[in-house]
């Protein structure tokens, strides 16, 4: 497995072509430049907003799965808690939307700390099963708390009235405005993730992925690093959830279900796990395909399931990961055959 995830991290790729080197060096700026023009490439803006939000969700998940090697099946809990807490702050407490986002993100981080505390006691396959089951606790908890969450019907009426900001009227019902507001938050989160990955701590989590015992033998506190990256990952997914509540103006109960966690896994793998751009590529391909395929057939699940299996069997690096690998091979012919 190591060789699959090895030299595909953009930071350490001096052999790449100059353009790719430039993109890699300024990865946050590159992805933001692309996202700035992205809405004009999509058939309609709401899809672009969706891709932006799920891209962020997959980025948060990738931090844990792609970079630390921990396959969680409970990340829907963070997306959902972020959505619900933001939504409930607006619907029930009539709080300011910025404050509501802060509450959603904080709550997701807190749930991440609780879940992480239990889940990191296990490793490997066990970890996947435990995170799945712990995520279902959150699902049933919100499902049953109908009075506050709307139960099966989801939480409705998460609307932000138009407001003035520095002379501009910001109206969330305008999809383009909404896109760029959300992009602002995504930019902050991406900057944070990039900074984490470039830090010594980023090196530690990759060391844990490559060889946990050796990382421990080198004197790193593996349990604490795992918990910290779990919480960070949960927080980012929580932010994605908060933004999603504002985007949809409802919070569906399904956003907490483990199938939603599975979506993060699929997007991450489709794009390329352990790569900086991969999650966005994966989210874009997944949601664009869903948009196209569901107009053609009712059997979207069979299509996505098959595509996912094909990728696991034949392209485990994902779309972006395979592209990078190809570039690397092209620029270093001596390393091959």
């Amino acid at each position: 497995m190591n060789e699959l995830r090895g030299p595909i991290t953009p930071v350490m790729a001096p052999r790449l072509t100059p353009l790719l080197t430039l993109i890699s060096r300024h990865r946050v700026v590159s992805v933001l430049l692309f996202l700035l023009v992205f809405p004009w490439l999509m058939p309609y803006e709401a899809l672009a907003v969706n891709i932006l939000i799920f891209g962020l969700y997959a980025v948060g998940f990738n931090l844990l799965f792609g970079y630390t090697g921990m396959l969680s099946f409970g990340h829907a809990a963070f997306l959902g808690v972020g959505s619900y807490l933001t939504g409930m702050s607006i619907v029930h407490a009539h709080l300011n939307w910025l404050l509501a986002i802060a509450i959603g993100v904080g709550a997701a981080g807190l749930v991440g700390a609780l879940m992480g505390h239990l889940a990191i006691r296990t490793r490997g396959i066990y970890f996947s099963m435990v995170t799945l089951a712990l995520g279902q606790i959150v699902y049933y908890g919100f499902y049953k708390a109908e009075r506050w969450t709307g139960g099966e019907n989801g939480l409705r009426g998460v609307t932000v009235p138009a407001f003035e900001l520095a002379g501009w009227t910001i109206d969330f019902t305008n999809p383009v405005t909404k896109y760029y507001i959300i992009l602002g938050f995504v930019a902050i989160a991406l900057g944070l993730v990039s900074r984490i990955l470039a830090s010594p701590f980023g090196a530690v989590i990759e060391a844990i992925r490559e060889n946990e015992k050796r990382a421990a033998a080198c004197g790193y506190d593996v349990a604490r690093s795992k918990l910290l990256v779990f919480v960070l990952s949960a927080t980012i997914c929580g932010l994605a959830g908060s933004l999603r509540a504002l985007h949809l103006s409802v919070v569906p109960i399904d956003s907490l279900h483990y199938l939603q966690s599975g979506q993060a896994v699929m997007m991450c793998l489709l794009g390329g796990m352990g790569t900086f751009f991969g999650p966005f590529v994966g989210a874009a391909v997944f949601l664009y395909l869903e948009d196209v395929v569901t107009t053609l057939t009712r059997h979207w699940m069979a299509v996505v399931g098959t595509i996912f299996m094909v990728f696991i069997l034949f392209f485990p690096r994902g779309i972006w990961g395979s592209l990078i690998a190809r570039w690397e091979r092209a620029t270093t012919p001596s390393a091959q055959t």
Partner: protein, 294 residues
């Protein structure tokens, strides 16, 4: 509020055991596959669901529940063996996450396949006529079919135990789950054993689907929650332990049915909380690391 008499509690206990019997069967299949192949079958719930659908289909086709109990597991097990041979096998040696992810994708396809074959509404299910009615247990009358469930599970587990402990095939399974490398060196075709074990595990999932069908709604999504519940059982019992799967299955069933009597709104939550408690006290599960049958 219903008055809590000892009779009522007793009956609820038996209901819990009947529910737990299904959980136990599911976890036994999961555990068997994991113990041998170190693969967590995320399509286990989907195989259970396919079993329930095909069970009803073969029952109406042949007019016999008993016949369907034999045919369905064979068909589901064959589907399982095909998936192992062509989808899971290429992934061995590529890291433990890949087979798991693949079976997750497979579950999507199986769910959609049943929607195409039988419609999105699902199928009406009913208890076979001979097994209707109730039995007097001394503390009150109890549905006969649920007792049959308990009996059938006991028979399957006993049969499996005999196969694993007393036959040559079982000896290979036990040895293979300890050290597949040595078993291969000794001249055993491990790939074939893995194929059969995967087939056996999914066949048991299919069988539990047939058995569970009369007690619940049969629809393409029924396996989704069941998967999460069987993970709870496996984590509580300890991975790769058949004994643990049975004990934890019954325990989870009883906890679920007792909470649905005493505090119905917490019924679904209770089993997950049980798992969290086990993780706090004994992360390896009640019978974890005790070998396949110990």
């Amino acid at each position: 509020m219903v008055e809590l008499t000892p009779q009522l509690l007793g009956l609820q206990l038996v209901t819990g055991i009947a529910l737990g019997a299904i959980y136990a069967l599911l976890a036994v299949g999961l555990s068997l596959i994991f113990g041998m192949l170190t693969v967590v079958n995320f399509a286990h719930g989907a195989f259970f669901m396919v079993g329930a659908f095909l069970g009803i289909y073969f029952q109406t086709l042949t007019g016999s529940f008993a016949l369907s109990l034999v045919i369905t597991p064979l068909v589901v097990g064959s589907v399982g063996m095909l998936s192992e041979r062509f989808l899971v096998r290429p992934l061995y040696g590529r890291g433990i996450d890949y087979p798991l992810l693949l079976t997750f994708g497979l579950s999507y396809v199986l769910i959609e396949l049943m929607r195409v074959l039988f419609g999105i509404e699902g199928l009406p299910s009913s208890t076979p006529a001979v097994l209707r009615g109730s039995v007097d247990l001394g503390i009150g009358r109890f549905p006969l079919y649920r007792l049959v469930l308990i009996g059938a599970t006991a028979a399957v587990v006993l049969g499996l135990w005999l196969v694993i402990e007393k036959t040559r095939f079982g000896l290979i399974i036990r040895a293979g789950s300890r050290d597949p490398e040595i078993v291969r060196v000794l001249g055993v075709d491990v790939a074939k054993v893995w194929l059969l074990v995967f087939g056996l595990g999914t066949a048991i999932a299919g069988l539990s689907g047939v058995l569970a069908a009369p007690t619940r709604a049969v629809n393409p999504e029924m396996g989704i929650t069941v998967l999460a519940e069987s993970f709870v059982v496996t984590v509580v019992g300890g991975m790769g332990s058949l004994m643990g799967a049975v004990v934890a299955g019954l325990l989870v069933g009883v906890v679920f049915s007792m909470t649905s009597l005493l505090a119905p709104e917490f019924a679904e939550l209770s089993i997950f909380v049980l798992m969290a408690l086990v993780l706090l006290v004994r992360p390896q599960g009640l019978f974890g690391k005790a070998g396949l049958m110990g």
